[in-house]
Amino acid sequence: MPSNTPLLDELEKGPWPSFVKEMKRSAGKNAKAKDLLGVVEQSYKDKITHWKHGGIVGVTGYGGGVIGRYSDLPENFPNAEQFHTIRVNHPSGWFYTTKALRTICDIWEKHGSGLTNMHGATGDIILLGTDTDQIQPAFNTLSENGFDLGGSGSALRTPSGCVGPARCEWACFDSLDLIYDLTQTFQDELHRPRWPYKFKIKASACPNDCVAAIARADFTIIGTWRDSLRIDQSAVGEYAAKGLDIKNLIAGKCPSQALDYDEKNRKLTLKPEDCVRCMHCISKMTRAIRPGKETGATILIGGKAPILRGAFLSWVLVPFIKVDPPYAEIKQLLEKIWDWWDENGRNRERIAETISRLGLKDFLKAIDLRPIPQMVYHPRSNPFVFF
């Protein structure tokens, strides 16, 4: 018998695990998943999407957390006409017990298509494909089992963070606890959109930035330290004995030439005031070099992808801050930032765009921060200065 999805079938071939195989597994026992295959195959033929724009659906009491989605081919694929997404807020660090994961699977078997993303780009568990009348029952059961929705729309989006001290020796603060605490504190901001546009918070516990916070978060928290990194000279000697070219590959690649290697004595010395804490030597000599002991974070503002004014990386706002519970200083800073953005932001303008339009100077004044050289690469070159 010829297949109904010849184009998608091609994507079952090859060594990498196939999403088409996953769609077919769900399609075997779920009519929505079966019709989804048909909709996507049609897109592969027509080379355009067959999902219509928007649709307001949700659960009682929330303004977000569910994305309405309707197909433009309801006659051909009636079971996939409604294919709404439920965003479920993940536990910090994406750690799970199998019991918790199986509970989510059972809920989604009953109320949805059986298809999910583990996870979406913002970090949530994405439950893909349900009907309007199943949204509230699905949420009720999720809530009974300890799961809540994430953010969507012009709201605080689900905060997320790296694996941190749970399984990383470089963690300069507890990214899991901070993310959990901020998520709990700002539930209202997360579930009830009322801002000019979306606002994302991400935390990476060291400058390697494993969750891409500097590129993706409006409010970026990156772990760092203020004292000197720690060097274990006997471990340095072991690396040298094993043949690591410390002179060229470690000291030679130090971006600020803060490291000096004495080949004869197998000794690595650091000029702490020259170190920019880039993580190169630490990452390549994990047994010999560690971050310092006076740890905390740099806070940066304004990371985002291109819409509207082009892409921005987050800019330094607070070069160093201690990150300890109950995180009062960080929460106060967030509230000041939101107040200013609420007052000055235009519709669909991320905070980076509001700052870029009105100037960092005014923004700093509004949130009571003093300008310091760490905030810029260099001072202005033009003479057009407002006094």
């Binding site: 090859g14 078997e109 969750v211 291109p306």
Partner: protein, 354 residues
Amino acid sequence: MPRTDIGPPDYKTMLPETIVNNYGKWKYHEILKPGVMKHVSETGGELFTVRAGSPRLVSIDFIRDVCDVADKYCDGHLRFTSRFNIELMTPDKENVDGIISDLNKLGLPVGGLGDCISNIVHTQGWIHCHSAATDASGLVKSIMDELYEYFTEFRLHAKLRIAVACCINMCGAVHCSDLAVVGIHTKPPKVNHEKLASTCEIPSVIASCPTGAIRRHSDKNINSVEVKNERCMYCGNCYTVCPSMPLSDPDGDGLAIYVGGKVSNMRKPPMFSRLAVPFIPNNPPRWPEVTDILKKIVEIYARDSKKYERLGEWIQRIGWERFFSLTSIPFTEQHIDDFTHATETYRATTQFKW
């Protein structure tokens, strides 16, 4: 009434015992072989992690299969990474081979750690998105089939991060990836004049355009907007605020490839990805033109780079002029920026290469 605003489950209830006992006490880690690392604690505790790729769009049965492996070897615990990898953790080294073999039996590749290509961060594409200019899952599957050994083996001098976004909204860190594939529209929106006034607020539609290409319709009897085509750069922002401004087009939609970005602060500061290939038409189900050029870039980079050099660092060292000549990618007028911060990219020195 259900309880609202309870927030996510407390992560502490999800952690395996070895992690609870060594939380914040990790001393160092080592990558033992592709996809396997060992963390050692100050207490002497050890934790072995096995990392596997996943297709991201998975069925609940897939999750149950992986849970079976975690129940068998990992005391019922597992985690996911921000790039949709699955990580199975155990304090017993003896479990590692069993985990790898069970994951392989499920068809999952083990790797993605260290100087490898990790799993591809991507968006929904034609599977679920209303503004997608291309598919994402199908592209990712096609790319990873071609670059499979770069996930399962150490063939590079540094990490290589790939991202796919199905439109320029770029949900995911596409704008700062070593290799990025971005779905693009190249035709202005086709305004639905009959529906526009009833579905959208005209002032918001006009205000949504970053280049001022949208204005009120010149015929006062038509309650709609006009698009000045030459000012449109196909961002789709008007479509996001107004469904009567669709810009999908079977021939106009396709893909662009950006290269050389990163987010880590290691050695060089974070970098944006830069345009390498301005347009490739959609060619499902396998997008061979896209996989060919990506594979070529990866192979040249693997051969030509120095140890520890990320793709963007390699390009900075050899220069963009040499990048284009090495890869035989034609340099076109689209490569010269004409948007907001364009002049920052014009070369103001006589230092360049041939």
